[in-house]
């Protein structure tokens, strides 16, 4: 306390400040805890996947997992060749990208370099709506509409096949590819475009000779994030591609992907702790590693173009 006691107000204010200080710290700690939840989620994902996978690999040698060409985890003669599931994932993703990359890139160039402001403002929300559709509905669409349509062209196409699932998945991924690629192109400075137009270039020439090369890392990011989405997609494949594991590279055949296999096992009634239960975590870990790889690569490329301009 001040001896002159002429300013008791000051000490009161100081006292209030101290309590204020404490409540501010509590609030800050609470907010930080919320942000830290995301770290907890990641740690939990890794922990759960690794814990069950370790138990799995104690019974199945890693070499068999990587080299066996059969996947029959629930049979008496159990085989655990992840290549079988990977082939399904690879084929369906390839089909999807064969659709999504050309269409998505075309839309991105069109919206960024050709379309008027108004066209862009109408088209982008429509694409967002497409991206927001529940995937189970896309699965229904692939099975009940696209497959019968394809069977008109290819009469021997089976009811479940990777082709129709992949095509629909491709359409679903178009908005992801187009929006990230368009962002990258719009980040290219106007000065470069002006330079090209001033040389007498047309829109198409400016787009292909100047804007695309300048935005190449961002467009790469768009493709890679599209791949990550395709690899992790579940319901379209579980519904329309069939769930029989099969080592095949023919999109006309039915086959299970990693994700479809997890769904198939989860639909059954597997006892906690059994090898079948652990299998889906080993499959999940494989899936996680792939998507993580693609996502990190994608974000790295995206950051590269953001730094450049």
């Amino acid at each position: 306390m001040s001896p002159s006691s002429s300013s008791p107000a000051v000490s009161e204010r100081l006292a209030r400040k101290a309590s204020r200080h404490i409540s501010e710290r509590i609030i800050e700690a609470t907010l930080f805890a919320a942000a830290a939840v995301s770290i907890f989620v990641t740690v939990a994902i890794v922990f759960i996947l690794v814990r069950e996978s370790v138990a799995f690999f104690q019974q199945v040698p890693v070499v068999d997992f990587l080299s066996d060409t059969q996947w029959t985890p629930l049979f008496d003669d159990a085989h655990f060749g992840i290549l079988v599931l990977l082939s399904g994932t690879a084929v369906s993703s390839t089909v999807a990208l064969a659709v999504a990359i050309p269409i998505g890139t075309t839309i991105a160039i069109f919206l960024s370099e050709f379309a008027s402001q108004r066209t862009r403002e109408t088209a982008k929300p429509i694409l967002e709506l497409l991206a927001g559709m529940p995937t189970v509905v896309f699965g229904y669409f692939a099975l009940m509409f696209v497959t019968p349509l394809l069977q008109e062209l290819m009469p021997e196409l089976p009811g479940f096949n990777l082709l129709s699932a992949g095509l629909v998945m491709g359409i679903m991924i178009v908005p992801i590819v187009s929006s990230i690629a368009e962002d990258a192109m719009r980040a290219v400075p106007m000065a470069l475009r002006e330079g090209s137009y001033a040389m007498g270039a047309t829109r198409l020439q400016t787009a292909f000779y100047v804007v695309l090369p300048a935005a190449v890392s961002g467009i790469g990011a768009a493709y890679i994030l599209g791949i990550a989405r395709a690899v992790g997609e579940t319901m379209i494949l579980a519904i329309a591609a069939g769930m029989q594991p099969k080592l095949t590279f023919d999109p006309r055949e039915p086959a299970a992907t990693i994700t479809a296999f997890i769904v198939q096992v989860a639909l059954g009634d597997l006892p906690h702790g059994s090898i079948g239960y652990q299998t889906i975590f080993a499959a999940g870990l494989t899936l996680m590693l792939f998507t993580l790889l693609f996502n990190i690569l994608g974000f790295w490329l995206q950051r590269k173009y953001r730094e450049r301009y």
């Binding site: 400075p189 000065a191 470069l192 475009r193 002006e194 137009y197 040389m199 270039a201 047309t202």
Partner: protein, 263 residues
């Protein structure tokens, strides 16, 4: 200085601006500008910031068509065929193929030096390697850059220094054999030594091509140009031989600007 010069109207004219008006949305940026561009001469546009000099320059090759909300009226006639560059029936691409432009900040494309120089040829559909090689060398020589880059034509253009990049952009503009070369404050982003080399280059280039240059630097206008136009608040105040503008301006506003009383 040319002692035998006569009235401007007797000189060969490459282009004429006639009653040109320009609006950015509601803003009336250029008001009834009329001026000639003499063939194989350098014409400088000077004036305080915001006077419309860059707007006028960019109208020559219809850069304003790239953005919505710009309106303009009047004519810019290109001789000898008397094409009105602003005529909506004339394709802006045609205009830009005949006139080249060098920008304020060097804007090389994210490509090799070589690809940058021959960009205009690529755009025109030329694919013959020997033609492209010749064009590239010719343009780079004309832009006084050949000696510095001839051994690394396939390096990225971004690897060049700022001054080299700007000369590359000049080479790029020259490689299309333009009838008129437009410079939009080409040295504002460069240091004095590089600026001097670019000014020297402009001096050499007028042997072959008509040049219009915007500059905020009066000394530069005095050094490089044959004719000067002084603009203020969207109006062309005075146009004439550079020496006359700088030594005995007719208009009070020009005199105030030249003598540094504002601007």
């Amino acid at each position: 200085m040319d002692p035998s010069r006569g009235a401007i109207s007797e000189l060969p004219i490459k282009a004429e601006v006639r009653n040109f008006n320009f609006h950015y949305g509601e803003f009336h940026a250029l008001k009834d500008v009329t001026m000639p561009l003499c063939e194989r001469k350098v014409t400088a546009l000077i004036g305080p910031s915001g006077c419309g000099k860059s707007t006028l320059l960019r109208s020559f090759n219809r850069m304003h068509d790239l953005y919505a909300g710009n309106r303009y009226g009047g004519e810019i006639i290109l001789h000898p065929d008397q094409t009105n560059l602003l005529d909506p029936r004339v394709d802006p691409i045609e205009v830009r193929m005949r006139l080249s432009m060098v920008f304020q900040k060097p804007n090389p494309f994210p490509k090799s030096i070589y690809e940058n120089v021959i960009y205009g040829q690529r755009v025109r559909g030329v694919t013959k390697r020997s033609v492209l090689d010749d064009k590239a060398e010719e343009a780079l020589r004309a832009a006084a850059l050949w000696g510095e880059v001839k051994h690394r034509l396939h390096d990225m253009a971004f690897a060049l220094s700022g001054g080299q990049q700007q000369r590359l952009c000049i080479a790029r503009a020259l490689a299309t054999d333009p009838e008129v070369l437009l410079f939009d404050e080409p040295t504002s982003a460069l240091d004095p030594i590089v600026t001097a080399s670019i000014e020297e280059l402009i001096h050499q280039l007028k042997e072959k091509v008509t040049i219009l240059i915007v500059t905020h630097n009066m000394q530069q206008a005095a050094r490089v140009s044959d004719f000067t136009a002084y603009m203020y608040l969207g109006e062309l105040i005075e146009f004439g031989y550079t020496e006359e503008i700088f030594i005995k301006p007719r208009d009070k506003r020009t005199e105030d600007y030249i003598t540094g009383r504002f601007g």
